[in-house]
């Protein structure tokens, strides 16, 4: 008999929602969180735009998290351990978690595990930035922590590499706090972040956006003194002769998020290379019975509202029993990724929620879902872009042995 029906690893938005859903269904639930407060990355997301879908309000990230934190704190069925870090998980008929905290080494047993441990940022050296190693080069999350949690400015003349949402948000944030953002550089030929962020973070502040350009190397010994940017072709290769030196004291690197799945890998849970998270069924259960994956460690989301939704799906399921599943593979074509990748045929709802990203920008796109070649669902999209994740509800009730295929077509936009 395990200590808890569901142990949630991670107390950010995904973990909070999953824990509430599990506990609401009667599951004895524990949240293990390594920081000293709940909220995860939302603690430092003071900008708004969160909760438009879920609450119909434009909340800041910390407010969004607070709503769930308040419920978790009030819930008699949820225990929270802060400043607690999982160092090992062993699987038998239950899961045995070893964790460290100021209390010592603890062993916790769980019937079900929900991984909600988020993602990490891609580093400067993972995008081949060379030169010296001065202070002043940091990922956007680090800058965000310094500005929004510690009240300090990491620099005054900033170059931002990467037009993903975090980079754009920080461009505005740094400008508001008195820094000068010289420009946002994006290696791709189209911006990565949400269009409205390009408008309200760059256009509003006259911050130029340079596409098809990247940072090649940095200069400066103690503190950054300059960066060298250069143009790249569509294969991301440097174009000789296009180098330009830009004097600055800060380089903010915002070049993508990588789901954290060290714990999942330690349990040999197969990961989908397209999402870099585990393969899951429509209940967010991985290929390992009783182990769920939610939030950014499953795949990098754009909207926290969808994080909460899928986390709740997992939480509800984790309150149930761990019956052996009949899993059906979903074939996919035309996607960067599609989640879930599998269907648990014994627990299908009338409609299944899918999330996907198109492999390339498309116009006049069509999503077709076929079962044994027959179209069972079709939806048209005016515009699809890889940085903008889509949510779709599909009625699906295939039988064992049938072939289910998701097919995304549409004119590629160059």
């Amino acid at each position: 008999m395990a200590d808890y029906k569901a142990v949630v690893i991670g107390g950010g938005p995904a973990g909070l929602a999953a824990a509430l859903a599990a506990a609401d269904k009667g599951a004895g639930t524990l949240i293990i969180e390594r920081e000293n407060r709940l909220g995860g990355i939302l603690k430092q997301c003071i900008h708004d735009g969160f909760g438009v879908i879920r609450f119909g309000e434009k909340l800041s990230g910390c407010e969004y998290a607070q709503r769930f934190i308040d419920k978790v704190k009030a819930h008699p069925g949820i225990e929270v351990r802060l400043l607690t870090f999982v160092i090992d998980i062993k699987k038998s008929d239950i899961f045995t978690i070893t964790a460290t905290s100021s209390r010592g080494i603890e062993t916790i047993t769980a019937e079900n595990l929900i991984f909600a441990n988020g993602c990490r940022e891609r580093t400067a050296r993972q995008v081949n930035i060379h030169g010296t190693r001065p202070a002043g080069v940091m990922t956007a999350g680090v800058a965000q922590n310094y500005v929004n949690l510690q009240g300090v400015l990491p620099g005054k003349r900033c170059v931002i590499l990467g037009s993903g949402d975090i980079g754009l948000i920080m461009a505005r944030r740094l400008t508001l706090e008195g820094a000068r953002v010289l420009g946002v550089y994006e290696a791709k030929s189209t911006p990565s972040g949400l269009t409205r962020n390009i408008v309200q973070c760059l256009h509003d502040f006259d911050i130029p956006l340079h596409l098809s350009k990247t940072v090649k190397r940095v200069f400066g010994h103690g503190r950054l003194e300059a960066v060298e940017v250069c143009s790249v072709n569509d294969k991301m290769e440097y174009i000789d002769g296009t180098e330009e030196i830009i004097p600055c004291d800060t380089l903010i690197v915002s070049v993508g998020l990588i789901p954290e799945n060290e714990l999942a890998e330690s349990l040999n849970i197969p990961l989908d290379p397209r999402t870099r998270g585990p393969f899951v069924d429509q209940n967010m259960m991985t290929l390992e019975d009783g182990v769920y994956s939610v939030g950014n460690c499953l795949h990098v989301h754009d909207l926290v509202d969808y994080v909460s939704e899928t986390a709740e799906t997992a939480g509800r399921a984790a309150a149930g029993s761990k019956a052996p599943r009949e899993l059906l593979d979903i074939e996919q074509e035309g996607f960067l990724y599609l989640v879930p990748q599998k269907l648990d045929l014994d627990s299908l709802a009338p409609e299944t929620v899918f999330y996907f990203r198109t492999a390339m920008p498309r116009e006049a796109a069509t999503l077709d879902v076929t079962v044994d070649g027959e179209v069972v669902f079709s939806k048209k999209y005016q515009n699809l872009k890889p940085p903008e994740m889509e949510r779709v509800e599909v009625p699906l009730s295939p039988k064992k042995g049938q072939t289910v295929k998701f097919f995304l077509s549409g004119r590629e936009v160059k």
Partner: protein
């Protein structure tokens, strides 16, 4: 004495007739001007005469080029003004630190001054951490003498200083069928220095190294090992400090004053010091210190090397050390081993280095091209080496003399000057042995003035910072119950606790910057490269050291991480 005319002839024959050759301090000095750095290097190599000359002093100017001045910390005070130690060691790398410990075995007052913000900032933290078998070294060289002695000293040192080592051995792969024929000659060479060697069949190699591309067998050298070179440096110095030595960081030697044939004082940015003996362990600047002291009979031509570190997930590539057999290296004709693949003592895979001559002593920048070169070369060894596993890369500059040899000597010209100069690879291995000889020289010199006695209460032991991650659960639990900070994990990639970070900040030689803490306890060395822990560690440093957040640095002064408080800067406007 060097044959100046002969060297002049050699230079002229090679097209460098306009270079002036003269004798200086028993060495050969080259002066003039050339427009190619490669040519300057070539002149230096041509002027080498190990038998008759003390060294090549290459003062040929490179047209239109002035090297950057030595970086000096922006600290200026009189903290050490008027101090009178028996011995002043210049340089806080592994060699200087090993010397400090050896000297502290005697009733000798020792000061070590290091211009950087921490020990082991230059070569000593920028190498592959190998304890070398010695096979790549010329059998009668100074290098091999110290390498073999040092290698033997490492087991004891590891236990006494609480720094783990592992004698993992080294595989050297034959890259073509005919190389096997040279094996008997390598055995003969190995015998000269008692280097254990055995032949390895391809089957054994395939079992050891997945994806191995060479199919011609190889050799195994059981005497090779691995250590964390910067942890060893710190450990040596901390033991010295425990036994009375003083380590002065951010202290740069600006000048050395002589009277006749003796040094009387050393001017630093932190005051003037009056040592009885000066030891030169200044690595990449050892010829600059030699010049200030009055016995510069050699020149350092810096040779940069780039290395890449791979995620621990790639550790399956090898569990020891892999390299190619290179005939040129074995016969001493080439002074670089060509690099290889090492699984470090911490479990990362380290790839490289390459070797690029550069006139800039402190250029530790990497370039795209040099990383590609390193990767490409080592990918030739195994198909398992993937660029996508790289988590970071770095560079360092080797302190290479033209003789490509160590200088471990008492100066014949300056009576109280001792040199451990031009120490490049195998410096990590050789350091403990070099330290013994340098100490003997210092004791000799000091004994001229008074009786020098070994310390009765010398304590050879030193305890390092506990790695809580490596403790068995019960031990870890007990430690946390005594000190709860060991239970709180700050760096999650490397599982480093708050307690360990505080230990580093509070250490006998304090680590109070992000990079210094990183080297001591590995916080920030994982796959996220400090993305999560660095803001937290910044706050810890500020709290622990009573500094403001704006004073916390990445490395030395001048590398502050944050420039202002947000509410004290004016918004520039829309």
């Amino acid at each position: 004495m060097p044959d100046i005319k002969k060297i002049q002839k050699i230079l002229k024959k090679n097209g460098f007739g306009n270079i002036t050759v003269s004798e200086m301090l028993g060495g050969v000095r080259l002066t003039g001007e050339l427009s190619s750095y490669e040519d300057i290097l070539e002149c230096g190599r041509l002027a080498v005469d190990k038998k008759n000359s003390r060294g090549v002093i290459n003062d040929i100017k490179l047209t239109g080029f002035t090297p950057k001045p030595m970086r000096v910390p922006p600290v200026n005070d009189l903290a050490y003004d008027g101090r009178r130690p028996d011995v002043l060691i210049v340089g806080g790398g592994i060699v200087g630190s090993a010397i400090a410990r050896e000297l502290s075995k005697y009733d000798i007052s020792v000061m070590l001054c290091e211009k950087e913000y921490d020990l082991a900032v230059a070569q000593s933290s920028r190498n592959d951490g190998m304890i070398h078998a010695g096979i790549d070294l010329k059998p009668n060289s100074i290098k091999v003498k110290y390498n073999m002695r040092g290698n033997k000293l490492y087991n004891t040192l590891s236990k006494e200083l609480d720094v783990p080592i592992s004698k993992v051995g080294q595989y050297v792969l034959f890259t073509s069928p005919w190389q096997k024929l040279v094996y008997p000659f390598v055995v003969a060479r190995a015998r000269k220095n008692d280097i254990p060697i055995r032949y390895v069949k391809q089957k054994e190699l395939d079992a050891k190294v997945p994806g191995l591309k060479f199919r011609h067998g190889g050799m195994f050298f059981a005497g090779a090992g691995i250590v964390c070179p910067y942890l060893m440096t710190v450990a040596l110095a901390e033991c010295a400090v425990k036994n009375g030595a003083e380590v002065c960081l951010n202290t740069a030697v600006l000048d050395i004053e002589r009277e006749g044939d003796r040094i009387v004082s050393v001017t630093t940015n932190r005051g003037r010091i009056y040592p009885k003996v000066v030891v030169n362990a200044a690595g990449i600047f050892s010829d600059v210190i030699a010049e200030k002291a009055g016995d510069r009979h050699f020149t350092i031509h810096p040779r940069k090397g780039v290395e890449a570190i791979l995620d621990k997930k790639a550790a399956g590539i090898t569990d020891s050390v892999l390299g190619r057999f290179a005939l040129k290296t074995s016969t001493g004709k080439q002074h670089t081993k060509g690099g290889g693949i090492v699984r470090t003592i911490d479990g990362n895979i380290l790839v490289g280095p390459n070797a690029i001559e550069t006139p800039e002593r402190e250029d530790d920048s990497t370039t795209c091209e040099s990383l590609n070169e390193v990767l490409h070369k080592q990918q030739g060894l195994t198909s398992e080496l993937k660029r996508s596993d790289i988590i970071t890369y770095f560079a360092g500059t080797r302190a290479a003399t033209y003789e490509e040899e160590f200088i471990v000597e008492k100066s014949p010209y300056v009576k109280n000057f001792v040199q451990a100069a031009g120490i490049q690879s195998p410096g990590i291995t050789a350091a403990p042995a070099i330290a013994e000889d340098i100490t003997a020289f210092c004791v000799q010199i000091l004994s001229e003035g008074r009786k020098v006695e070994p310390k009765k209460n010398f304590d050879p032991y030193r305890k390092g910072i506990t790695r809580v991650k490596e403790l068995p659960p019960e031990e870890r639990d007990a430690l946390i119950k005594k000190n709860p900070d060991y239970g709180i994990i700050i760096c999650r990639c490397e599982e480093v606790s708050k307690g360990e970070i505080l230990d580093a900040i509070r250490a006998p030689i304090p680590a109070t910057t992000i990079d210094a803490i990183k080297r001591r306890v590995r916080a920030g060395m994982g796959r996220c490269q400090g993305g999560f822990c660095s803001p937290i560690i910044t706050r810890l440093i500020a709290e622990e050291c009573g500094k403001s957040l704006l004073e916390v640095c990445k490395k030395g002064p001048g590398s502050e991480l944050n420039v202002a408080y947000t509410k004290e800067v004016d918004y520039g406007g829309l």
